[in-house]
């Protein structure tokens, strides 16, 4: 693909049309195409990833939305908050004797006669929001991260590279040869085919406040939501609450001017009507990639060397110990906790979760150690969230997402978070009070979440369980009753918390360590399996009160322990360490 006639970044639609015409010329039958990709996707993948053009694509955020030109290529990183179903559009049609396509655009460029040569294709609509609980260090769109030199290696990990905002503003290019001209401020879109069309373009959205203010409870003013139109993908690929990076064509077309047609009278079934254009931009997605924790890292991935892992582990552990006031045991368990994830589900049982309940906190100590710990976690993990549990909070908060049938939208709740989010639940503020029905429901939801790692979404007529994978850390005075954790440990600090300032590089190393090690696979060899089994049997013979939950916890800890050393199979040494940790833990209860 040498010498493209179109600039894929500035005029993606031109490139799309070019490939379409080429495909048709090459004998592709638009009827048989049925919406499938004819090569445009490949072209963009090639340009973006293999040629490293991705870093030049601006990342859409609340601040720059007013400056980005419509019909250019943009990136958006977000969580799929709602799926708005499918949309049928006139995919291919004949303009005279020429085949045209409407793929990746809202309004057809050429007049569509009532010619029979028209094919309806479908696309998926996704409503995406900026990842809830995204910590500042992982937020690439905020413009704080500057691309480093030497980024041309163009791996997936590079996707997060972005150009500075200035670049976007300087982008002064012809976006289309169709006579679509624009000045940087007011965008006036005139389509050749529709001279009569009086497109009411949104006013320049300079005021960036109130973006995506679509009944999102956690609205903070400068988050942005985006309506993504996805082509060429199956339902199974895109799931609710997944975090994706979408690269596509931004449109400000007068999509869905209020249709007050009679069909909708008394029944505003048009879900999109509630998404005003100037608040929620439309993105016609060309390429999408699922993001995992390591996609949010800044540094180039380090090589997984045992020595390096061990070093990083040591420094991180000592950091956590310092944060936790020299309580080495708690620090060790918190480290394991930070590495936990649900790696399998059997029936109702989520294997691999390790929620931790740090008890013996009071209001004073929580303000010292709790805050330090929460800040430390914020710096370590890409997504984290803090829930201050009080009676009022429980009675008022909407934790579970709820379907609003009036607008046909899923109204998000605080528990609609992407996989791998860390949740710190501070129970120390909980006082005696009465829970109302909402509070009871919320408490039940939290309990259910902690037990099964599932969140029930309220669909009014029924509940739908969605699997979640949240790391739950509970801070409480006594053992939490609302959230039964896997691991309860009385917190015993011996000195004042000393988080200290951590060098950015060290922090990055820790972030890398947690993201990488966490996703390693793990196994056990048969000899070790025997040892573990014998230990468990012996333990149970000694203490009849040990239940399968206790066994599960031990095994999860064993697994995480060896993972924390970067090893993929359980060794006797690590197993002994886990047993020792458990012994020390039980001693604290004595």
């Amino acid at each position: 693909m040498v010498g493209l006639p179109y600039d894929c970044l500035a005029n993606p639609l031109g490139a799309v049309r070019f490939t379409f015409e080429k495909a048709v010329a090459a004998g592709a039958d638009p009827a048989a195409l049925n919406g499938k990709d004819w090569g445009a996707g490949d072209l963009f993948r090639d340009v973006l990833f293999d040629r490293g053009a991705l870093s030049q694509v601006p990342v859409l955020n609340a601040k720059n939305i007013g400056h980005v030109q419509p019909n250019t290529l943009v990136r958006f990183r977000g969580m799929i908050q709602d799926m708005l179903g499918n949309e049928f559009y006139a995919g291919a049609y004949k303009d005279g004797s020429l085949w045209r396509t409407n793929k990746y655009r809202d309004v057809s460029q050429y007049p569509m006669g009532s010619s029979p040569d028209m094919h309806i294709w479908e696309r998926h609509l996704l409503y995406c929001v900026q990842v809830p609980g995204l910590n500042p260090w992982a937020d690439t769109s905020s413009g704080t991260v500057v691309a480093r030199p030497g980024d041309q290696t163009s791996q997936h990990g590079e996707k997060r590279r972005r150009a500075d905002n200035e670049d976007i503003d300087q982008m002064d290019m012809e976006t289309s040869e169709d006579g679509i001209q624009r000045s940087s401020g007011v965008k006036k879109l005139r389509e050749d085919g529709h001279p009569s069309q009086n497109l009411q373009l949104p006013e320049p959205v300079a005021e960036s406040t109130g973006f995506g203010a679509c009944s999102m409870p956690r609205e903070e003013g400068d988050s942005l939501s985006c309506l993504i139109k996805v082509y060429d993908s199956s339902d199974s690929e895109l799931k609710l609450n997944d975090v994706f990076e979408f690269v596509g064509v931004l449109t400000f077309d007068s999509d869905y001017q209020v249709d007050n047609d009679e069909f909708l009278d008394g029944f505003s079934e048009d879900t999109l009507a509630s998404l005003p254009l100037n608040k929620v931009p439309r993105l016609h997605c060309l390429v999408h990639t699922k993001l995992a924790a390591h996609d949010f890292l800044h540094s180039t991935p380090l090589e997984l060397k045992p020595q390096l892992v061990k070093e990083v582990r040591e420094t991180l552990l000592s950091h956590l110990t310092a944060v936790l006031g020299n309580d080495g045991l708690a620090a060790h368990l918190v480290l394991l906790h930070l590495l936990s994830r649900v790696h399998a589900r059997i029936d109702n049982f989520a294997v691999g979760k390790l929620s931790v309940n740090l008890t013996c906190f009071n209001k004073e100590s929580v303000s010292i150690f709790g805050n330090h710990l929460m800040l430390a976690i914020k710096d370590l993990l890409p997504f984290s969230h803090i829930v201050p549990l009080t009676v009022d909070y429980l009675n008022a908060a909407s934790l579970a997402p709820k379907k609003d049938y009036e607008t046909n939208r899923l109204v998000t709740g605080l528990m609609q978070l992407p996989e791998g989010t860390h949740l710190t639940i501070d129970e120390t503020q909980l006082e005696v009070g009465t829970l109302n029905s909402v509070g009871v429901e919320n408490a039940r939801l939290l309990k259910y979440l902690s037990e099964y790692q599932k969140v029930e979404y309220d669909f009014k007529y029924y509940k739908m369980e969605l699997a979640a994978d949240f790391q739950l850390l509970i801070l409480s005075e006594g053992k939490s009753n609302i959230l039964p954790a896997d691991l309860v440990i009385p917190f015993q600090p011996s000195s004042v918390a000393s988080g200290g300032v951590v060098a950015a590089e060290t922090l990055e190393a820790w972030q890398w360590y947690l993201a990488t090690v966490r996703s390693l696979s793990h196994s056990i060899d048969s000899d070790m399996q025997k040892v573990v089994e014998n230990d468990l049997v012996a333990a149970r013979q000694a203490n009849r009160n040990l239940s399968s939950q206790d066994f599960s916890r031990l095994l999860t800890m064993g697994r995480l322990m060896s993972l924390s050393f970067g090893e993929t199979s359980l060794s006797l040494e690590h197993w002994q360490m886990v047993k020792e940790l458990e012994r020390l833990r039980w001693e604290r209860f004595a």
């Binding site: 309806i120 047609d261 793990h522 095994l555």
Partner: protein, 843 residues
């Protein structure tokens, strides 16, 4: 009042060439050809609305399809297919664009051409001959019989009788089972599904034709409502190729719009001279107001005004249907689709109803702005609803065994698809199906084989019996699990809850009596008192799982007495006196009152449940955590495997949950086993045997080892076991297994620990026969002591002294003060002694 709805008006979308004719069906025979569909169409193209005005005021619009009169039926649909070889994709556009572009682009002239074309009419763009279809429909309607045994019998076809019924009750539609069409004429069925607009139009013409010959006085228009298509589509699989096809899908209604009156015919009046115009009909979604008064003498311009109460309106409603939860893939949100309901279908469903809908999937283009003609590249889709059927709300098909006899339910209800049935039948033939199902039940809970077998029986259930005298025998099996904490009782409960047909899961601690049964509440909107069902009523035909049964309040528990044997809930509150069905199986689990089960005490002492309630459980299992290294090892292995191994390899040879659910529901629905003679004999023999075991030769002690309740339980269990095998007959082996299950359960719960024999008295009264004997002995001994030591009317004696005396008698073993008090109390009632505080006095 021109309703300028453009393409978005559903009415307009019907205006695809055939659909457009809302002609008056009032007297079809009288004016043949006067208002053929084609004619109106052509008029519409030119923007004129006059042709139809010659019709007298017809009743409200009844059909979306052509209601052309019988002599000119063909033209109305021959011009249908505009999209040449374009296949399915082209049609929707063709269907919707003409209307949206009306005015600027007159519809192609094919409609007119087709009118006088050759004899043989074809559906546009296909080789489907209209005449052939017409003839096929006539054949079908005339000749189809449900039991095609006597093909040449004089009896009339099913639908001819249906038609007569339509005349009788003056209905406006006729329900047509698509399955019947398929059975009679597959070709017709295929055509109907592919080209529903055309075929249904012909259908209605044929119906009108028949109606006029059979009953010339019948003036209503008859609409054909097709239902029960062979395949039903999943909502998220609707794709562009389904447009304009007949589809059937299941879903849940989530919203209904208010009823929208849609104008069908308008009457105008001249403001100057008061002249009433002829009714003006809707043309492509709009009514053109006459520009000038029709009356020649007047002819004032722009003087016509709409007379609302002389216009005719039809009901319309838009309903939103959402996917049922089971169709939603992991990590997806439910899809929705709009339904358009007309006339009688309006308000046929309420939000929350689960329905199966048959209709035509349609798409219409979206305009950029209402005032503009430009068509966006987008399409809105909806389903033009033909038939709506409510399906049961349960997760599984919880058919009502009591009501199966009338045979109606069986046809109407959800049918299993044939492949699945074959698969299930194959499964049922496997010799190890019983064990395999047992293994598949909660596979991650190991051991507890017999408990699982009992639960399996509960899932399948026995036959409910209703005698002519009105007495009913329940078929539901109630099970109680008692056991130590941490023995996965709750997990079992959860599992059964997930599997069972409409189950309710409650915890005893949080349940109140009314919450379980029913309560009267005031409707916030209407202020009426309404009866709200509680958990037990809601789980009618299902399993009600009650966790922490022992922690339930007594009042709540007492409600269960009625439910568990009579299977009804009676309430008399706030002026509402009702008896509700609660044919539910109860699966309860309880913890012993001490944290651990004390094997030396009886079940009743351990869980503090009233014996009256306990006896209503068919099976009571004790799940005890015995220190057993073998068990521990297996547990350890299991958990290690859970954490480290590939899950698939761990659980082989078990049925997955959907298959299991299907298996159970199929068996519950279709299999109604009866006792074979052999089985009945075995049952009698076994029961007598069990009873006999209570009689110890040479002992006066009488132990009840079985009661009539047990024999009922046994019958239910054996029926359930036969069902597991998909067998219509209960065989001897089922009965033997039932005995075994019962015995295992009884051995655990009803064993008298002092003697080691089964004693039903333990369950029914809470006191074992041996215990009772011991008490009798003690009382006798006390009496002897008192007789010896005390004089009639003499000084009284302290209880402690009496106890010491008794202890000297070695034959009694350990005697406690409380035992003595009981004994003395017995003697008091006999009038032998008098007790004052701690002293006993002989009287």
């Amino acid at each position: 009042m021109a309703s300028d709805t453009g393409p978005s008006s559903p009415d307009d979308s019907f205006s695809s060439p055939i659909g457009n004719t809302q002609s008056s069906p009032d007297n079809p025979a009288a004016r043949p050809g006067a208002r053929g569909g084609g004619r109106r169409r052509r008029g519409g193209g030119g923007g004129s609305s006059t042709p139809s005005s010659i019709a007298t005021t017809p009743p409200a619009h009844r059909s979306r399809f052509a209601a052309a009169s019988e002599t000119t039926p063909t033209p109305s649909r021959t011009h249908r297919r505009t999209s040449g070889g374009g296949g399915g994709n082209g049609r929707p556009f063709a269907a919707s664009t003409p209307s949206s572009t009306d005015g600027d682009a007159p519809p192609s002239s094919e409609c007119g051409d087709g009118y006088d074309a050759a004899e043989q009419m074809y559906v546009w763009g296909t080789n489907i001959s209209v005449q052939d279809v017409n003839a096929a429909i006539v054949r079908f309607l005339r000749n189809f019989m449900e039991a095609p045994l006597q093909a040449d019998s004089i009896e009339e076809g099913k639908y001819m009788r249906e038609l007569d019924r339509v005349f009788e009750i003056e209905r406006e539609w006729i329900d047509i089972d698509a399955q019947d069409i398929y059975n009679y004429d597959q070709d017709l069925y295929n055509k109907m599904v592919r080209y529903p607009l055309e075929v249904l139009a012909i259908f209605e013409i044929v119906l009108m034709d028949m109606a006029s010959t059979r009953n010339p006085l019948f003036e209503k228009h008859i609409q054909a409502r097709v239902f029960n298509l062979r395949t039903s589509i999943c909502m998220r699989n609707l794709n562009p190729s389904d447009i304009e096809k007949m589809v059937s899908l299941k879903g849940m209604i989530i919203r209904c719009s208010s009823v929208i009156p849609e104008i069908r015919e308008a009457v105008f009046r001249c403001l100057i001279c008061g002249y009433y115009s002829d009714p003006v009909r809707v043309e492509r979604g709009r009514i053109s107001e006459p520009k000038r008064c029709m009356k020649e003498e007047c002819a004032t311009k722009n003087s016509m005004t709409l007379v609302h109460n002389r216009c005719s309106f039809a009901d319309k409603q838009i309903v939103r249907l959402q996917e049922t939860p089971d169709e939603i893939p992991e990590g997806g949100t439910p899809h929705t689709v709009s339904l358009l309901m007309h006339d009688k279908l309006v308000d046929a469903g309420k939000p929350g109803d689960r329905v199966e809908v048959t209709g035509i999937y349609r798409a219409m283009s979206v305009r950029v702005a209402p005032t503009q003609r430009t068509v966006k590249s987008l399409f809105k889709t909806y389903i033009d609803c033909l038939h709506i059927k409510k399906t049961s709300k349960s997760r599984m098909q919880a058919d009502d065994p009591m009501e199966v006899e009338n045979g109606f339910n069986r046809n109407e209800d959800f049918t299993f698809d044939e492949q699945m049935v074959e698969k299930l039948k194959d499964l049922s033939k496997k010799p190890d199906i019983y064990d395999r199902l047992t293994r598949s039940l909660a596979p991650n809970i190991w051991e507890l084989e017999d408990v699982k077998k009992g639960l399996l029986c509960q899932l399948f259930g026995g036959n409910a019996l209703k005698l002519a005298s009105g007495a009913t025998f329940r078929g539901d099996i109630n099970i109680l699990l008692v056991g130590d904490p941490g023995t996965s009782k709750s997990q079992l409960l959860q599992y059964i809850h997930k599997l069972s047909p409409r189950g309710i899961y409650t915890s005893g601690r949080g349940s109140s009596a009314v919450g379980l049964t029913a309560y009267v509440a005031k409707d916030p909107e209407t202020g009426e008192t309404v009866l709200e069902s509680g958990a037990l009523v809601l789980s009618d035909q299902g399993i009600c799982c009650i966790d922490e049964f022992d922690k339930m309040s007594d009042s709540a528990r007492s409600m269960l007495h009625e439910v568990m044997e009579q299977q009804t809930v009676s309430i008399a509150k706030a002026g509402i006196i009702a008896s509700l069905n609660a044919r539910t199986s109860v699966l309860a689990c309880a913890n012993p009152s001490g944290s651990r089960y004390n094997p030396r005490l009886s079940v009743i002492d351990n869980i503090h449940l009233p014996p009256t309630l306990l006896s209503r459980f068919d099976l009571i299992y004790l799940i005890l955590d015995k220190p057993d290294e073998q068990m521990d090892r297996r547990l350890a292995k299991h958990i290690v495997a859970l954490h480290f191994e590939d899950i698939e390899s761990v659980q082989q040879d078990v049925l997955d949950l959907p298959t299991l659910t299907a298996y159970v529901s199929y068996a519950r629905k279709r299999i109604h086993p009866q006792l074979s003679d052999e089985a009945a004999e075995e049952l009698t023999r076994g029961y007598v045997e069990m009873r006999r075991r209570g009689n110890f030769p040479g002992s006066s002690k009488k132990v009840i080892t079985a009661t009539p309740r047990q024999i009922e339980s046994l019958i239910r269990l054996s029926e359930a076991l036969a069902r597991i095998r998909f067998s219509e007959w209960v065989e001897k082996r089922d009965v033997m297994e039932a005995f075994r299950l019962l015995e295992v359960a009884m051995q655990q719960s009803a064993t008298d620990h002092s003697t080691g024999t089964i004693d039903m008295d333990l369950i029914t009264t809470g006191v074992s026969a041996s215990e009772r004997m011991r008490r009798d002995n003690l009382a006798a001994a006390t009496r002897n002591v008192i007789m010896e030591k005390m004089q009639l009317g003499g000084p009284s004696i302290r209880l402690m002294e009496l106890l010491d005396e008794l202890k000297k008698q070695s034959s009694l073993g350990e005697v406690h003060l409380s035992d003595l008090r009981n004994a003395v109390a017995t003697l008091t009632t006999e009038g032998f002694v008098a007790v004052h505080g701690d002293t006993v006095k002989r009287v």
